[in-house]
C-alpha cells in the first residue's frame, strides 16, 4: 500500500472541520423544521399552502422539475466524459454522480410532498395507467435512482478496499464498513473485467434513461391543453435546460469541495476552464430553445397566448423572467467566453447564479400558465388570482434542498471524492510516459 500513502493523505475521507460541522448541523436543523411543516401539512391538508384551484401546482412541482433537471448532470458527464474517455474527467465524474443521485432521490420525495394523499401511494402501482406521464415517472425515477447508485458504487470498489486498509488502525469501525462495501475486492483480473463491463453497461444505459426522464418531465406539461405548456418544443427545451442546471450545480459543488478539502492539486484551474466551456455550450443551446419557446409565439400568438407572454415579458413576472434570461443565460455566456471568466472563483459565482436562475426558471414554467386559463377566473376569492408560496411551502421546499445538500455532504464526507486507485494508476502512467520521453 506504500504507493498510495501520499495520495491517501490527500484524498481519504476526513472528519469535518469546524465549518463542516456547523454546516451539517444547520442542514439537519433546516430539515427538521421542514419535516414539522410537512407533518402539519399532512394533518391540515394542502390548505396550508397557497395553492388553490387555479394555481394548483406551485413551488413543489417547480422544485421537482428542478431536481429532475439537476439530476441530469450524471447522464451528461457520463455521456460526454466517461464514454469518450476524456482523461481530465477523473476528479469531476464522481462529484457529478453524487449530485445526480442526491437530486433524483429528492425529486422522488418532492413529488410525494406535492401529493395530497400520500397515504394512497400504492394506488400508483395497483391502478397504474400507462397513458399518464406520472405513471412513466413512477417507473423511470426509481430506475434512474438505481442506475445512479450503481454508477457511483461500482467504480468505488477498489477505493473501498484501499480505505479498509487505511483505516485499519485509525478507525476500526470505519474500516469494517469499507470492508463490507468493497465486496471482497482483490483487484484480480477477473474482478476488474466484471467491474469494467458493468460500469460500461450502466454508463450506456443511464444516457437514454436520463433523456427519457427529462422528456417525461416535459410531457407532464405538454400533455395538457394549457397555454405555455401545450408545446412541441418541450422535450428538447427541458433537456437543454437540464444541461444548464446540472452543469451549474456541478461547478458550484466542485468549487466548494475543492476549497473545503484543499484539492487544488487534483481539481485544477484547467478543469474549471473546461467545465466553463461546457456551460457556455449548454447555455447557448438553452438560449436557442428559449427563443423558440418565447420569441416565436410572440409572432403567431393567439390572444390568450399573448396575454400569457406579456405577463412574462413586461408584466407581473417580468423581473423574474429577465433575471432568469439575462442573469441565468446571457451573462454567463458572456463571462464564460473570456478565459478570465473561467477561473474558479468567477465560475463559482456564475454557477451559483445559474443554479438559482434555473430554479426560478422552473417556477416560471409552472405558475404563470396556471394563472392564465382559457376561461376567465371568476367566482373565486380574490386571493386565488395570485400565487406566492406560503411559509409552509417555503419551509418544506428549503428543507428538500437542504436534504439534497446533506446527501451530497455526507457522501463527500465518507467517499473518496477523487478516485484514489484511478489517480494512482494515472500518475504511474504519467510517470512512465515522462520517463520514456526522457
Amino acid at each position: 500500500m506504500k504507493k498510495y500513502d501520499k495520495l491517501l493523505n490527500d484524498l481519504a475521507p476526513k472528519k469535518f472541520g469546524k465549518l463542516g460541522t456547523i454546516w451539517t448541523i444547520s442542514l439537519i436543523v433546516i430539515i427538521i423544521i421542514g419535516i414539522i411543516a410537512y407533518i402539519d401539512q399532512l394533518i391540515k391538508g394542502q390548505v396550508v399552502t397557497n395553492m388553490r384551484d387555479y394555481t394548483l401546482w406551485g413551488i413543489y412541482i417547480s422544485n421537482f422539475v428542478f431536481f429532475v433537471a439537476t439530476s441530469f448532470v450524471g447522464s451528461v458527464t457520463v455521456a460526454v466524459l466517461r464514454l469518450t474517455k476524456n482523461n481530465w474527467r477523473t476528479p469531476v465524474v464522481r462529484i457529478a454522480e453524487i449530485i445526480s443521485l442526491a437530486a433524483i432521490v429528492m425529486a422522488g420525495i418532492t413529488i410525494m410532498i406535492d401529493m395530497a394523499r400520500p397515504d394512497r401511494l400504492l394506488n400508483l402501482f395497483i391502478h397504474a395507467r400507462l397513458q399518464s406521464p406520472i405513471t412513466w415517472d413512477v417507473i423511470i425515477i426509481p430506475t434512474y435512482i438505481v442506475l445512479s447508485l450503481l454508477l457511483l458504487y461500482f467504480p468505488l470498489l477498489p477505493d473501498f478496499k484501499i480505505l479498509k486498509e487505511y483505516f485499519k488502525d485509525k478507525s476500526p469501525k470505519l474500516s469494517k464498513w469499507y470492508g463490507k462495501l468493497s465486496l471482497n475486492w482483490t483487484g484480480s483480473k477477473a474482478q476488474k473485467a466484471i467491474q469494467t463491463k458493468s460500469i460500461q453497461i450502466i454508463a450506456l444505459m443511464i444516457i437514454p434513461v436520463g433523456l427519457i426522464l427529462q422528456t417525461i418531465d416535459a410531457w407532464l406539461f405538454s400533455t395538457t391543453y394549457r397555454i405555455g405548456w401545450d408545446s412541441t418544443n418541450m422535450g428538447a427545451y427541458f433537456i437543454s435546460g437540464a444541461f444548464v442546471a446540472g452543469v451549474g450545480a456541478l461547478i458550484t459543488v466542485i468549487y466548494v469541495v475543492r476549497r473545503a478539502y484543499k484539492l487544488e492539486h487534483f481539481i485544477t484551474d484547467n478543469h474549471f476552464d473546461k467545465l466553463g466551456k461546457f456551460l457556455v455550450l449548454a447555455c447557448l443551446t438553452y438560449l436557442y430553445f428559449n427563443i423558440n419557446e418565447y420569441l416565436i409565439p410572440t409572432f403567431t400568438a393567439s390572444k390568450e397566448e399573448e396575454i400569457h407572454l406579456n405577463t412574462l415579458i413586461s408584466g407581473q413576472y417580468a423581473p423574474l423572467f429577465w433575471f432568469v434570461i439575462i442573469g441565468g443565460l446571457i451573462i454567463p455566456i458572456i463571462v464564460l467566453l473570456f478565459k478570465k471568466g473561467r477561473k474558479p472563483l468567477p465560475m463559482f459565482i456564475i454557477g451559483l447564479v445559474v443554479v438559482i436562475a434555473s430554479w426560478w426558471k422552473r417556477y416560471l414554467i409552472v405558475t404563470p400558465t396556471l394563472l392564465h386559463p382559457f376561461l376567465p377566473i371568476q367566482g373565486v376569492p380574490e386571493s386565488w388570482h395570485h400565487y406566492f408560496p406560503s411559509i409552509h411551502e417555503w419551509l418544506i421546499t428549503i428543507a428538500t434542498l437542504a436534504m439534497a445538500l446533506l446527501i451530497i455532504t455526507l457522501l463527500v464526507r465518507y467517499l473518496p471524492i477523487i478516485p484514489i486507485q484511478r489517480t494512482a494508476d494515472e500518475q504511474e502512467e504519467l510517470l512512465k510516459n515522462t520517463k520514456n520521453a526522457e
Binding site: K44, G45, Q46, V47, M51, R52, D53, Y54, L56, W57, D114, M115, A116, R117, P118, R120, L121, N123, L124, I126, H127, A128, R129, Q131, S132, P133, I134, T135, V138, L220, T223, T224, Y225, R226, L370, P373, F374, L375, P376, I377, Q378, G379, V380, P381, E382, W384
Partner: protein, 325 residues
C-alpha cells in the same frame, strides 16, 4: 419408459398452465373488445338475447335460458365505471336565455354539499371583444369525449363511461391534481382541507342519498380531503329518470339535457330534437379547436330576450359558493 411418462406428463402440465394463462389473458382481451363493440346496436336477432354481466360486459345468451323476474332491483343496477348501457348524455345551454339568475348554481351547490370556495357550475360574465354584446355563460364540466383529465390521471380515478359521463372515484384519487392542470375548462375543484360537510354524515334520512356510501355517481357526497371534485351530470338523478339539478332549478329554461342516441333533449318544459335544435340555432361547443369533444353544446347568445344588465345584480366577482356561516 416410466421416466418418459412422467416427463411427458410434466410437459403436459406445463403446457396446460401456459395454455390456461394464455386463455385467461385472451379472455380479458376479448371481453374488453366485446364491451367496446357492443356500444353499437346489434341487429342479429336469432333467438339470442344480449345481457350485461356484473362486470359490465355484454354477453349473448339463448333467450330460452333467460327467466323473467318481475320488479327485480338488479335491473336498475349497473356497473358504475361502465355507465348506463346504450346512452350518451348531452347538455345544451341556450345562452340567449341566461340572465344570471344563478338558481342553477345554488341548486348544484346545495345538492352536492359544496362547501369549498369554488362552485362546480359557474356562470361567467363574458364579452368577446369591446364591440360585441356581453352575455352570461354557464359552464359545467364538459364531459369531453377526449377528456384530457382522464388521459393524465395516473390511477384511473377519473374515468370516462360509455354513456358519456366523466366521473371521479374519490376513494382512489391520490390528489396529484394533474387532471386539474390538464382540463382546459377549469371545471375541477380540489378539497384543500377537510370539507366541512357535517350535515351529510348527520342527516342519514336524506331521500336522495339513502344509501350513504360514497360512490362516483354521488360526487361530492361525501367529499374527501385531498381529492378532486367536479360536476358529474347528476347520475344519481338521471338513473331515476330525473333531470340534473341545474336543469330543473333554472327558471329560464336555459339548460336542456338528454340522450344523443335518442336525439332528444329537454329542459323540463319542452322536449326538442337534439340535432335539429343544434342545426336551427347553430349550436357550438366551447374551445372546439382543442379537440376535447365536449358533450355540452351552446346555442349562441343571439336575439337576446333578456337584459344583460339585470344579471349584474346577482354577479359576485369573488364568490360562487355561499357560505352558511
Amino acid at each position: 419408459m416410466k421416466n418418459n411418462k412422467t416427463n411427458s406428463r410434466r410437459k403436459f402440465i406445463d403446457k396446460g398452465i401456459k395454455l390456461s394463462l394464455l386463455t385467461a389473458i385472451g379472455g380479458i382481451g376479448l371481453t374488453k373488445l366485446a364491451s367496446k363493440l357492443s356500444a353499437k346496436p346489434t341487429s342479429n336477432s336469432t333467438g339470442k338475447i344480449e345481457l350485461m354481466t356484473t362486470e359490465g360486459t355484454i354477453i349473448q345468451v339463448d333467450s330460452s335460458e333467460v327467466m323473467e323476474m318481475d320488479n327485480s332491483k338488479k335491473h336498475k343496477e349497473y356497473n358504475v365505471r361502465e355507465g348506463m348501457p346504450n346512452r350518451k348524455f348531452v347538455m345544451v345551454v341556450d345562452l340567449a336565455k341566461c340572465k344570471n339568475a344563478l338558481k342553477c348554481q345554488s341548486a348544484c351547490n346545495k345538492y352536492h354539499y359544496i362547501t369549498g370556495d369554488n362552485a362546480w357550475l359557474k356562470v361567467y360574465k363574458m364579452q368577446e371583444s369591446k364591440d360585441t354584446a356581453p352575455y352570461w355563460m354557464p359552464t359545467t364540466c364538459q364531459h369531453c369525449d377526449h377528456p384530457a383529465c382522464v388521459t393524465v390521471c395516473p390511477v384511473d380515478a377519473t374515468f370516462k363511461r360509455r354513456d358519456g359521463l366523466v366521473l371521479i372515484d374519490n376513494k382512489r384519487c391520490i390528489g396529484c391534481r394533474f387532471c386539474m392542470a390538464a382540463c382546459p375548462y377549469s371545471t375541477r375543484v380540489f378539497n384543500w382541507s377537510d370539507p366541512n360537510q357535517g350535515e351529510i354524515t348527520l342527516a342519514k334520512d336524506l331521500k336522495m342519498h339513502d344509501h350513504q356510501k360514497s360512490s362516483p355517481e354521488h360526487a361530492g357526497v361525501p367529499s374527501i380531503k385531498g381529492t378532486v371534485d367536479k360536476c358529474d351530470f347528476c347520475p344519481h338523478a338521471i338513473q331515476e329518470g330525473k333531470l340534473p339539478h341545474c336543469v330543473t332549478a333554472c327558471p329560464n329554461g336555459v339548460f336542456y339535457f338528454g340522450d344523443k342516441y335518442e336525439d332528444t333533449v329537454t329542459n323540463g318544459d319542452e322536449t326538442l330534437r337534439f340535432s335539429k335544435l343544434l342545426k336551427d340555432k347553430s349550436g357550438y361547443r366551447i374551445m372546439e379547436g382543442l379537440g376535447t369533444e365536449p358533450s355540452v353544446y351552446y346555442l349562441p347568445p343571439v336575439d337576446r330576450l333578456v337584459d344583460f344588465e339585470k344579471g349584474l345584480e346577482n354577479y359576485t366577482e369573488f364568490q360562487s359558493v355561499e357560505k352558511s356561516k
